[in-house]
Amino acid sequence: MVEKREIILGENEPYVINMGPQHPSTHGVLRFELSLKGETVFKVVPHCGYIHRGIEKMCESNTYQQIIHLTDRMDYLSAHPNNEAVSLCVEKALGIEVPERVKVIRTILSELGRLASHQLWWCAFGMDLGALTTFFYGLRDREKILDIFEESFGSRLLHSYICPGGLMNDVHPNFKQRIKDFIPYFRKKLPEYDQLLSGNVIFKERSRGIGMLSLEDAISYGVTGPSGRGSGFSCDIRKSQPYSAYDRVDFKEILFTEGDTYARYRVRIAEMWESMKILEQLVDQIPDGDYTAKMKPIIKLPEGEYYQSVETARGELGVYIVSKGDKFPVRVKFRTPNFSNLFAINHMAVGHKIADLVAISGSLDLVIPDIDR
């Protein structure tokens, strides 16, 4: 005997809608499956895989030099740390010490990439919350960094510049002077960011107390980078496991303990100041020398498993390579920061409105190709 039931949509059952994959505030092809009661979110299920290209599988049929250009396509907004991670892992496996010049230049490039990435995040985050002005102001300053990149490496976004053993070619003669010009310029312009957005009453109301993530949850979800440091999780790889030239520069690890969207915002603004401090210390200390160590044309890693992690603009990027002594790796695994950061969103967004979910996902600084890779 079948019982007759009458279901009124949205009365007792959750009302499920899809946000994305074409939604502009997800910054790419990501789909959130939202369970709503009214406008209040009480469950978020992120569905990823829309831009999955199988980079890890493709790496298995590429040599170690060729892997570099694939890693650009993961976190494309700060491509240098991705290249650096693979290069450092290969160098670690081969036991190669790269020249001092390479180490310093790599550190400068990572910090420039971090600045460019945080600037674009600031643009997009403002726009997520309805402030269009930020988009133009942030891109104006980002353009200066991209010009430095374009002059030295020939491309603005996907550089493929850091390679196993060193760099693809030497930096442009103007490189040093351009950075020296950029730092005072951006020191003058960065306070504008605070005046425009940080102090704005509407912005504060929409970001304070939204998307709380406690320290315990940040650790258990593996939220790293500025998102984790906004919850007081000391997870900066540059401090804990210094690589390249980070052991000789003086900088602070930015920690905020509030754990809300506004704290994550302030971590990134403060990190921009710290990045400029690192650049100022290093730009005059670029030693002369070779731009690459002596490498064989065909790199064969000795048999074994190798891991190296670096701090990208979004968190900890780990590269795990398994080699059987061939010129191709047997298995490559990327521990990308965005993948771990994304899945804390259910914990953070529960009980908030849909508009707050946009603010939370914006404060995590998601790059979708990095999630799916």
Binding site: Q66, E150, L158, S160, G199, N200
Partner: protein
């Protein structure tokens, strides 16, 4: 604090923060010279591109229609996604020996990711990056290019 005073003081403070932001934007309104708006580069003749810009791979030819490519195939091996195909031919040279020369250097611009491995590894520096842009075409076949010009030959003195 008295809730009424608190209510109104928050409004005043909030309006104050909005004015702070407006000051920045209106500052640029008065000083329009500091606004940087770039136009699309229509001035092709006088446009100076950055010398290292990676637009596409080209093979420079000299005035005698000669290039430096020996057809060794190192660029083809190093290319991660098969954008380069090298077709070689065997000819008999003046001394009566049969030597391998390049017939066609095919370059698929549509597949190229500008990683720069071919240019970096070329032993005779036969291919370089050209600072061109605007590669949009209506037909995909137009993006398959032959880098060596028809009738070209190898420069003297280029070792294999």
């Amino acid at each position: 604090m008295n809730p009424v005073i608190k209510y109104f003081s928050e409004i005043v403070k909030g309006v104050g923060t909005l004015i702070t932001g407006m000051k920045v934007t209106s500052g640029y309104f008065i000083r329009p010279k500091e606004i940087i708006t770039q136009k699309y580069p229509e001035n092709r003749d006088t446009l100076i591109m950055l010398e290292r810009f990676k637009g596409e791979v080209v093979m420079p030819h000299d005035e005698n229609n000669q290039h430096a490519c020996t057809g060794c195939g190192i660029c083809e091996i190093n290319c991660p996604n098969g954008s380069i195909q090298i077709l070689t031919a065997k000819i008999t040279n003046a001394e009566g020996k049969s030597v391998r020369v390049i017939d066609k250097h095919i370059y698929h611009l549509s597949m190229c990711t500008m990683c720069g491995l071919c240019v970096k590894t070329c032993p005779s520096d036969a291919i370089v990056f050209a600072p061109t842009f605007e590669h949009a075409v209506f037909d995909r076949n137009k993006l398959t290019l032959q880098l060596n010009k028809p009738g070209s030959s190898i420069k003297k003195g280029v070792k294999e």
